[in-house]
């Protein structure tokens, strides 16, 4: 399966383990990724705050280069939430607002480029893995199931919202990554905060706000009994991992929940070595959690855990008999 690939600045640096693990698993799942030539930054959530037409032209250059490169595919995929959303939203706004599209193309012409809105399908990497590769195909490649590993699937904001091309089952409680992790043999915990905010750029411009949001997410995962949080975004990983240390200092807490990319867990289940997947480069070490992976499925244990509801469970309700 061939597609164009936009790595983005974060995957090159702060999220290098995300890129390395993707490169390690791409052949196993039959993904042929062609990098967009000489791509530039997508502008993250900052460029749009300063200039509007230039922000669209900035993304437009990437779309124009990708569409010129496109041969045998019209899919452009990105692993970073902000990169994905900027590419998808620029295409959508150009489709819906022809006057704006004309302005963006006028600017692109100054660089000898042009982009016909709608000519590329912009998709997040998780979407491609779940819906194009498919859960069954992923499961078929599992040689070392992640039995006994309890994972909190964390989607963050911008992949599932605003969802300009209606790719997901739900914008607040999506299930795609839950299913993917189960296909790897892992135990997926109930994580109602799965699409709450990691703090985004507030870790830099307003740390107190960010620490509160990070604590909520980490505490939620700990309460749910998760061994690790699984993410699909470089910014979320950085905020929940590196800033988990700062958050602990701020509140005097001692949470230690590692934060891994879904591609790293896929690699582990496919039998790849942790080092090849960039595991070990996280701030909160993942090794203790990963040592919980057992050879046998935890079926007997799970059956034992089930018990009849007791009167004290839930809200007080009148009971029959």
């Amino acid at each position: 399966m061939k597609m164009l690939f936009y790595p983005g600045c974060s995957m090159q640096r702060t999220a290098r383990p995300y890129l390395d693990s993707l490169m390690a698993i791409r052949e196993t799942i039959g993904l042929e990724l062609e990098e967009v030539a000489d791509w530039n930054c997508c502008g993250a959530t900052e460029y749009m705050s300063v200039h509007r037409v230039p922000a669209l032209a900035l993304v437009g250059r990437n779309l124009a280069i990708a569409s010129r490169q496109a041969e045998g595919t019209d899919t452009l995929t990105a692993g970073c939430s902000a990169c994905y959303l900027n590419l998808a939203k620029t295409d959508q706004q150009m489709r819906e607002d022809p006057r704006l599209a004309a302005k963006v193309n006028d600017a692109l012409h100054a660089g000898g480029l042009s982009y016909a809105a709608g000519s590329l399908k912009v998709r997040h990497l998780l979407d491609v893995v779940c819906n194009d590769v498919g859960y069954e195909a992923v499961q078929a490649k599992v040689v070392r199931p992640l039995h006994g590993l309890r994972l909190a699937p964390y989607y963050g904001c911008q992949v599932v919202r605003p969802d300009p091309d209606s790719r997901w089952d739900d914008r607040e409680h999506p299930t795609a990554m839950d299913r993917l992790l189960r296909a790897l043999g892992a135990d997926v915990v109930d994580y109602p905060l799965k699409t709450q905010c990691c703090g985004g750029h507030m870790t830099v411009i307003g740390p107190d706000v960010a620490y509160g949001l990070i604590r909520r997410l980490v505490h939620g995962a700990a309460t749910a009994g998760a061994d690790a949080i699984v993410t699909l975004c470089p910014m979320c990983q950085l905020n929940l991992d590196a800033y988990q240390i700062e958050m602990n200092k701020h509140y005097g807490t001692s949470y230690a929940i590692p934060v891994l990319y879904f591609t790293q867990l896929m690699g582990l289940a496919f039998g790849k070595a942790p080092a090849e997947l960039g595991i070990g480069k996280e701030f909160v070490p993942a090794a203790p959690a990963l040592s919980r992976i057992s050879d046998r499925p935890p079926a007997a244990e799970a059956a034992k855990k089930k018990r009849r509801p007791r009167a004290a469970d839930g809200l007080p309700m009148p009971r029959m008999g």
Partner: protein
Amino acid sequence: MSAVPSPSAADRAPECSAFLREVMDATPGDSRLNMCIQCGTCGGSCPAGPEMDHTPRRLFAMIRSGLRDAVLRSNTPWYCVSCYFCTVRCPQQIHITDVMYTLKGMAIGAQLYRDNSPPDFSQTFVDYVEHYGRSFELGLATRFSLRHHPLSLASMAPMGLGMLRRGRMELVPHRIEGMAQLTRILDRAKALEATP
């Protein structure tokens, strides 16, 4: 969700303050900001709501009342984390996050903000992109912190060194090959932005 119909331009003209129209015109597509029913779903959904000077609902009432100065001085747009919860929950399908981007741009244009650090963060990010075509975390973090939180540099140093040791940060920025082309594109786009 079925689309709620938009009133025609003529229908909405009388109730529009000039400022409301200015905000709507500066937002891509139809932001539907004039359709706000003041229900407060936006503020109730906002992860940064408690820290904001005004909830989005209140800010939209202020826009409708033409309180340009107070709106552009509010910290609300700068505390928006672009999580899009308000946008997908709004019963009137207003493009709230996009409106926040518009208000940030207008506040920078009018030089109206109390705390200059969030706009300066955006501007510093933009400067690196316009010089190299890529973002540069080390430069962004140190330049921003030196200017706004010099005392925090010492406490942030362990994280920076940790990033370097793990190969997650570079010491020099990467410049794209097509930098001259990108500059021509951005210069033209800025000229176009200035024209209606």
